[in-house]
Symmetry: none
Subunit: 195 residues, 4 copies
């Protein structure tokens, strides 16, 4: 007896299964069948809800983006100063939910996808711009515009680099260490100009 209101449940399950399947089979080897099996449904159902493999993949990417965006937004709400807001952005990027092996793998996969797949590229741009504008905006309160731009660029690169390295490290990722590294970079960058 089919139940009502299954749609959101199935969608969430399929997106979660997509992330995990990417993590252990590798993006280029994922099949709809594997994802569906992991979600406990038939592959036909995955198509029923998402239309196509690409759509499911895009929805998963959007989900990752929303989750990260949401996490950061929550932390920003609680921040009280520009420097605090910068810390909120940094910590948000390494919050527990985001900084898990499976999530990192999926993110990385989308980075790669974003190079050649226009929709993925579009989604990735949104994230990159939001991160950049958040950082630049707050840094501008603390230093010159030029310094702010450069530091934002460096912090963003460092965040990406730490993600990618943790994806490959094998051991459990340590958010605290990553956060400390970026914070230190920001502090140093802000400190420099004072000397």
């Amino acid at each position: 007896m089919p139940k009502l209101g299954m749609e959101p449940i199935r969608r969430r399950a399929l997106i979660g299964a997509t992330i995990e399947t990417i993590h252990d089979r590798g993006f280029s080897n994922v099949t709809v069948g594997q994802i569906a099996r992991r979600a406990g449904v038939s592959s036909a159902l995955a198509h029923h809800y998402f239309g196509s493999k690409d759509d499911l993949l895009a929805a998963t990417m959007r989900h990752l983006l929303d989750a990260l965006g949401g996490t950061i937004a929550d932390r920003l709400k609680r921040a009280t100063s520009p420097r605090d807001r910068i810390s909120a952005v940094i910590a948000g990027n390494f919050a527990a939910d985001q900084f898990r092996p499976a999530t990192i793998s999926a993110w990385l996969a989308f980075y790669v996808q974003a190079q050649t797949t226009p929709p993925a590229r579009r989604l990735h741009r949104i994230y990159a711009r939001r991160l950049n504008s958040n950082l630049v905006h707050d840094l501008s309160h603390l230093t010159t515009r030029d310094e702010a731009v450069a530091t934002a660029e460096g912090a963003a690169a460092l965040i990406d680099g730490l993600w990618i390295r943790h994806a490959l490290a094998g051991d459990k990722p340590d958010p605290a260490e990553a956060i400390a590294m970026v914070e230190r970079f920001v502090d140093m960058s802000l400190g420099m100009r004072r000397h």
Copy 2:
């Protein structure tokens, strides 16, 4: 019109074609047929020389690794001081040969592959360790051991992050800017402890 001694020529051509094909079709979409066509040979020949698609991909990754390793080694030979050696490593990572869109795409693809494919992982580890040990060794001459380790980790993450961002930037990657960013990070890290 078959000639003798074609093997090395074909191997090089196929590896080059692999890098370029990954760049414009995306790693998960490359086919042996596309690569072979780009190299101007039949797909049967690609199999003849490399055995399988995976082997061709692995050989390409090895090539990338060797090329980067060679570039850095060359620059290290000419370096005269520890600080100079650090600059050599940094500049080597962004040298013209390496830091081209197609090469960056291929590298990125291999980062992703390294997460799930043991041979790719092994190869990647070699690179990561070599980079890390080079940096730590030279930084140790300039600061405490702990600082050296942390700075090396940060510099490596920054390098990776800059690569990944340039892979997605779309516009032509600017090595000078990337180099400046990492140099600045190293300077700041070394400078901090003096204050």
Copy 3:
């Protein structure tokens, strides 16, 4: 127009098609495509149900083995004396179902396969041992153990030889003649020791 419960139907059809295709194209030339076409399905479906060509071939061999085993078992049930049981085994080996050109071809192919393919070898061993133990057991009631073993070996060889010759005869195989030949061999072998 998909229906439920097609799997067993398709499996049977594919196994039957395998036997017939081996018969008229020769074992070394069969392709999954030909088999599937003969079964009225796509080759993808053959893979869907059997996994691989080898698996389909192995399943077909197992089917042949089961069919022969079943036929013999049926006849053994109705046998009342040791000599009768021997006749049941002989007649079973040449029963209408087994002794048809296509079946013979497939059997022969598997004899050959059994030389190099371990799974086929295993299956073939089962058949050979069962035939041997049946014959030895019943012959032991009628003669010395040594004679029983030798006669069983001879009868088995004769059965195999008649099969193989009928496979190549071209004309319709005549079970009665083959049965008479083996029966005569057994009778002679049993008669000898009495004289």
Copy 4:
């Protein structure tokens, strides 16, 4: 420096390699490349001397046929009575050269081929008829024509059966045992009618 008179040497080597390759890879898996490698030459050379894979295979079969025919003919020359000639035929079929695992495998393969490949069929017919006519001719001196025909048929089937069983036995084939079995069959068949 290419040598003169290599042709017969290469042809023999390739035929020998064909037999051995069939033995350990199975007829349906042999490739010209494997055969050539085993013979220590390039696959192009195999084509140079034999024209095509099928031709090489046919030549190999012809070789087997000739070898067996020659062995039997030699023994027949030395036979002095009809019964002796029968023994010569039987022993010839199990002579050391013929009754080796690799040779048996190749023979068996050709039995299978003979079902679907006309040239193989033709060659096989020659062998079968020669064996049959030899046996019938000599048996006719010792019994009625009808008995001779039946006994020849039985002996031939037994020979084939023993070959096939030894091909699969795994252990080293024992010619003496096989010969004894066929001799015994002939003796019994001839003896029966006297009683």
